[in-house]
């Protein structure tokens, strides 16, 4: 499914630095975690801002809330640069 995203501008979330923002393109994978992330607001087109970053673990703001993600989870979320 990830290849549908395909655009060269999409990158996994941990590449963002503290303070940078982006727009979510896709949440990879299936199953419970995928569903949970979407429920929390990690859906296509949502704006995310990285509040804090430590070795790939992130605290991001999405849909007005701060959510902490570990690196493996954050790597599933593909984003593109904010317009």
């Amino acid at each position: 499914m990830n290849d549908a995203v395909g655009a060269s501008s999409a990158f996994p979330l941990p590449l963002l630095q503290s303070g940078e923002n982006a727009v979510i393109v896709k949440v990879g994978g299936r199953g419970e975690l995928h569903r949970h992330l979407e429920t929390l607001g990690f859906v296509e087109g949502a704006d995310v801002t990285v509040v804090s970053e430590a070795a790939g673990d992130l605290i991001v703001e999405v849909k007005g809330t701060q959510v902490a993600l570990d690196r493996s989870v954050a790597s599933r979320i593909m984003a593109r640069a904010a317009a």
């Binding site: 549908a4 994978g29 929390l40 087109g45 673990d57 902490a68 989870v73």
Partner: protein
């Protein structure tokens, strides 16, 4: 007829606070998601016919987590008359995701727009009338924290329940999704009530097995639904569930854009704080400093003024509130006089006369006699039998007194933890710790129970419920009680005193050291257990909503502190009360050669039943440096409740009423181990790490839901505690020159080598189908 109100909302949006407001209940409120796991019921304080059910916080009504299932089952089948959907107004978009699902259930709904005061403070505006129109249900502004808007909320909810009016939301999804929903709800026709048709249609479109099973549709209909789903998935190039989630958020985005006016925003305060406290470099040091400060304050202030007061006032002779200086001087002068008289070879009569002249503290200021002294005087004047006086004074007052004397220290600790928890810092700590915990196979969420464990193991084991992954949960249950709980703090204080010998300035580090010993024991256990077949597999992913920082209310801090203190006080009044009597009996009865009977405590203690018991199993602890019966007995009573360790030392050394902060107690305790620092450390390590108290073991049994796992957990902890104690005594003692090389040194080295092997050998290949499918291959790279 009563009206049943269900309280539903996102985790940590203030449901429990509101529930407490409405029902006058005092449920514990934490500032992190998932504090309420089970639903709770209460009656509205102003109208007992209104019954309110507090449901666990959920983000959606899909049936996956235990909280979601509890909430969903109650809403669908529990038959509430009306749902109050509590919505955090500062975070409308995410909260409305649940709201849009609740609105589809066909039940009357009232939305409580909570934390509106904060929205105004931020300079934002919400058009409540328009929001109410779009959601198709009444919207009431509230502030659960300040108790505002509650009456209106309940009145609106009761009205809605009486009208039985289902919401009429104006929330259309994109055409590609809305089409198939319409198609399926037409197909369902009259098989479900019209007001719930949309709920069932969406669930069938998502392909949710639970709903499909419950409706028992004919195969032809299921085929039609599958076709509709497939068509939608193809049209949107997305799986059905994701497509509906996106459509739902789109519709919400539309509502929010129309009703919310945000003021121009820079970084919020929460973000500014998080920049610092979760910083990759500063995060961990800040946490260590904060925790060291908390424990330092609890120990120094707790063992200082406050505990002195409690010890003297409750179980000691009494306490002088004013004029203390003058009294001290008078006593000093009197002591010198006595010493001088003794030196001068005064007769016994002269000394007795001098003793009469001991200054009476009551003459120097406000003197409140201690409870122990009052009871002692009362017994004496009532001419109660000597053995009975001994039972009450040496057994019960000494035992329970030592425990009660420690409460002030615990209150300070819990107040500080409650503040850290209430302001939102602890949720960040879970995030900070996740990076570390991940390396030994636990998630940062395991840290929350461990933090509670520094108060009491019972609520800590219960708090493991919020860990979704079963392996993580079991491992957390097995290790969490290794954190020094409140009841173990007196042991630490006692050991601290015994080793420091009163020199508290230079050896302050001993107390935090035992706290970190707990953490290190958990880390080592985690790594070792992770490499066994039972726990192999990837760590569960860490996803956690972080609450905004805010100042907790005084009430919430006090409630949280009381919640934790309560279990301790109840134990002091029941289990410990009884066990001090049993211990006294075991110590005072025995056969000293003249038949079974009451023993003289001065000379015949070694013949007591207790000594016999201690001697019988002392060999187990001999390699740990405390094989004599006194120390062994102390460890046994620790199983009943850890507070007993100090109480028993008190009884055994007949300085019971002094408590763990008294230098005489320290001396007596150190003498029990022949003054060996290594033996004292080994004793402390074993008692901190071995099986927890009976109450905690009972809780472990309930949470594990398996006798086998319970025994495994207890067995592991005890063996691990013994092994650590062995290494402390044999290897530490060797280094200090207190122990010479012997066969147990070899055993200790072998244990150490075994642990190191298990710690550093590569993860053995264990076939575990399905366990790690959830995670991408890159997950392990975090280390």
């Amino acid at each position: 007829m009563g009206i049943r109100i269900a309280l539903a909302g996102n985790p940590n949006c203030g449901k429990t606070t509101m529930f407490n407001d409405l029902t006058g209940a005092n449920q514990y409120v934490g500032n992190w998601p998932g504090v309420t796991v089970e639903k709770k019921e209460g009656k509205y304080t102003r109208d007992k016919d209104v019954i309110i059910t507090d449901l666990p916080g959920v983000y959606s009504l899909s049936p996956y987590s235990p909280e979601e299932i509890v909430t969903r089952d109650y809403l669908l089948e529990g038959g509430p008359d009306v749902v109050i959907n509590l919505v955090d107004a500062t975070n409308l978009e995410r909260n409305l995701y649940l709201t849009t699902q609740v609105l589809d259930l066909g039940l009357p709904v009232v939305v409580a727009l909570n934390m509106m005061d904060l929205v105004r403070k931020n300079g934002d505006k919400i058009d409540v009338a328009k929001l109410s129109k779009r959601l198709g249900c009444p919207v009431v502004e509230t502030s659960a924290l300040k108790g505002q808007g509650m009456d209106e909320l309940i009145k609106t909810a009761v009205d809605a329940a009486k009208k039985k009016a289902a919401p009429t939301p104006d929330l259309r999804f994109v055409a590609e999704v809305e089409g198939p929903i319409k198609q399926i709800s037409d197909l369902l026709g009259s098989r479900v009530p019209a007001s719930t048709a949309r709920w069932y249609a969406i669930k069938l479109l998502e392909g949710e097995q639970r709903t499909i099973d419950s409706l028992k549709l004919p195969a032809a209909d299921l085929k039609t639904i599958d076709a509709a789903r497939e068509a939608m998935e193809n049209a949107l190039d997305d799986d059905a569930e994701s497509a509906i989630t996106v459509a739902r958020y789109d519709a919400i985005g539309d509502v929010v854009a129309e009703t919310v006016k945000k003021s121009a925003k820079g970084l919020s305060l929460t973000q500014k704080i998080d920049r610092v406290v979760t910083n990759r470099v500063l995060g961990l040091p800040i946490f260590i400093v904060v925790m060291a400060f908390v424990y330092w304050l609890a120990i120094s202030v707790g063992t200082g003024v406050v505990t002195d007061w409690a010890n003297d006032g409750i179980s000691g002779d009494g306490f002088l509130y004013t004029g203390g200086g003058a009294y001290e001087e008078a006593v000093g002068a009197w002591e010198e006089e006595v010493a001088a008289a003794e030196e001068a070879g005064a007769s016994e009569d002269e000394l007795a006369a001098l003793a009469e002249e001991e200054p009476d503290p009551a003459e120097f200021g406000l003197w409140i006699p201690g409870l122990g002294a009052i009871i002692g005087d009362a017994l004496e004047s009532a001419q109660v039998a000597d053995w009975m006086q001994s039972l009450v004074m040496d057994g019960i007052v000494a035992g329970v007194g030592a425990v009660i004397g420690f409460i002030p220290q615990m209150i300070i600790l819990f107040l500080l933890l409650a503040f850290l928890e209430g302001c939102g810092y602890l949720a960040r700590v879970a995030f900070i710790m996740d990076r570390i915990f991940r390396r030994f196979g636990l998630s940062g969420k395991s840290f929350i129970p461990m933090l509670v464990a520094s108060g009491c193991g019972v609520p800590a084991v219960m708090a493991t419920k919020t860990i979704e992954n079963e392996r993580d949960r079991r491992m957390t249950i097995m290790t969490t009680t290794m954190i020094p709980c409140g009841a173990k703090m007196p042991i630490i204080a006692l050991v601290f005193g015994a080793i420091a010998g009163g020199n508290t300035e230079e050896t302050w580090w001993i107390a935090p050291m035992f706290y970190f010993l707990g953490v290190i024991a958990i880390i080592i256990s985690g790594i070792m257990l992770k490499k066994t077949k039972m726990f192999a597999g990837e760590a569960s992913p860490f996803v956690m909503e972080l609450p905004s920082y805010h100042l907790p209310t005084v009430k919430s801090i006090l409630l949280s502190t009381w919640e934790r203190i309560k279990s301790y006080v109840v134990k002091a009044g029941t289990i410990i009360f009884l066990s001090t009597i049993v211990i006294w009996l075991l110590m005072n009865f025995g056969d000293a050669g003249e038949g079974f009977g009451l023993l003289d405590q001065e000379t015949e203690l070694q013949y007591s039943l207790m000594a016999g018991l201690g001697n019988a199993i002392g060999w187990i602890f001999a390699p740990l440096g405390f094989g004599d019966w006194q120390a062994t007995v102390t460890s046994i009573t620790g199983l009943v409740a850890k507070e007993n360790v100090v109480a028993t030392v008190g009884i055994l050394t007949s300085v019971g009423e002094l408590g763990e902060t008294d230098p005489d107690m320290w001396m007596a305790f150190a003498t029990m181990f022949g003054g060996s620092a290594a033996a004292i450390m080994a004793f402390c390590a074993f008692n901190l790490l071995c099986a927890p108290c009976f109450a905690a073991i009972g809780t472990i049994r309930r949470q594990m839901e398996s006798a086998k796992w319970t025994w495994f957990a207890i067995g592991y902890m005890t063996v691990f505690g013994w092994a650590v104690g062995l290494m402390f005594y044999q290897l530490g003692g060797l280094a200090l020159g207190e122990v010479s090389f012997n066969v147990w040194t070899v055993v200790a080295l072998a244990v150490l080598a075994g642990m190191l092997f298990q710690l550093f050998r590569p993860m053995p290949a264990v076939k575990k189908a399905g366990a790690s499918e959830e995670l991408e291959a890159g997950a392990g790279a975090a280390a």
